[in-house]
Amino acid sequence: MGLMREFTKGLWKDLAPFRVVLGLCPILAVTKEAETGLGMGIGVIFVLTCSNVIISSIRNIIPRQVRIAGFIVIIASFVTMVELFSQAYFYPIYQKLGIFIPLIVVNCIILGRAEAFASRNGVIASALDGLGIGLGYTMSLVLLGSIREILGAGTIFGVDMMWASFRPFTFMAEAPGAFVSLGLLLGIMNAVSRKS
């Protein structure tokens, strides 16, 4: 039961980036389409889960003074794996995500979980924590990506959604739309969580 909670807390209680405001850059930059959001989310789930497992299994070996540097090297190795793998098998998404794949390294969520959770808890709990937080983050990415793609291009995952005479709002597909829609979504989340 306790372990299950480590998994489910990432889906609502600690939902990134709405309940814990971290990892904003990718969520603004790669959510022009739902598909790129999903690709980014899968990359983050992989890196977060693997780095959490490794960090928690060697948490007693790393000296405290150099732990952050150690965490960064472990995270960067997994990010390189994601980079090479997506370049080999998912080239179109790799090109669309561009520099945001290597920038998973500096995503504060991953270093934050390593420092706050994986360096203090067991391997299984850390794996579930990574999976949960990663899945929650992916949901947020896909949600924002879908909203922006429906309003900005009239499609979702490339499939037409709107009626024939629908005029897409270019605003939503560009930078300002990303900030405003994320801000409004955050406001809605705040209102909902205050009620419950």
């Binding site: 390189t80 405003v180 705040n190 205050r194």
Partner: protein, 199 residues
């Protein structure tokens, strides 16, 4: 003359923060007060420029000749993390006033994706060394410009009547969106500017 286009382009048209979405966490975190915004902005200009020079050297003198391009991500983040530490130690020893002003912002810069992002963009866009340095300084100044503008707006927001659910980060993001819209207006300038400079 091309440098003028590069400067204006990376300062205003492709502002690193509002058009390329790099460095948003510190942007929303440190823009609540004007003095912290100025401190963070100067620290970013300082570190970003040095980091871009060092990573440029690492890429062209170490990674490329040895053919170990795949270590780019690992080596860049390590270089940036080490560099931030060095800058911090150097300032503490030799420039005490600067250290007391910037000290608390320096550790935050390691995970500021604007630094790593600019370093990667310089390599991906295949800039020469001078172009890279100009790009780095102009991008960091663009970051600082947006940060200071935002701090000015947010100080006013503190005393205005914002709906309860939107307080804090939510209204910050919406404000950033409106600023991005204003900066979006510069997009059309690109072609006109090129024509003007070339003529």
């Amino acid at each position: 003359m091309d440098y003028i286009i590069l400067i204006i382009s990376s300062l205003l048209i492709n502002n690193i923060l509002l058009a390329q979405f790099l460095g948003n966490c510190p942007f929303l975190g440190t823009s609540k007060r004007m003095d912290t915004a100025i401190g963070m902005g100067i620290a970013v200009i300082f570190v970003l420029t040095i980091a871009c020079i060092v990573t440029f050297w690492v890429q062209h003198k170490v990674l490329d000749p040895l053919g170990i391009d795949y270590l780019q991500t690992v080596s860049f983040i390590l270089v940036i993390a080490a560099l931030v530490q060095l800058v911090e130690m150097f300032l503490r020893k030799f420039a005490k006033p600067l250290y007391t002003a910037l000290g608390i912002f320096l550790p935050l810069i390691t995970t500021n994706c604007a630094v790593m992002g600019a370093a990667l963009l310089i390599i991906r866009k295949e800039y020469t060394f001078t172009q890279g340095v100009v790009f780095a300084i102009a991008s960091a100044s663009g970051f600082t410009l947006a940060l200071i503008l935002m701090a000015g707006i947010r100080e006013r927001l503190e005393i205005s009547d914002v709906p309860l659910a939107l307080r804090g980060t939510a209204i910050g993001l919406i404000t950033a969106g409106l600023m991005a819209l204003a900066f979006f207006g510069f997009q059309g300038m690109d072609a006109a500017l090129t024509a003007l400079v070339r003529s």
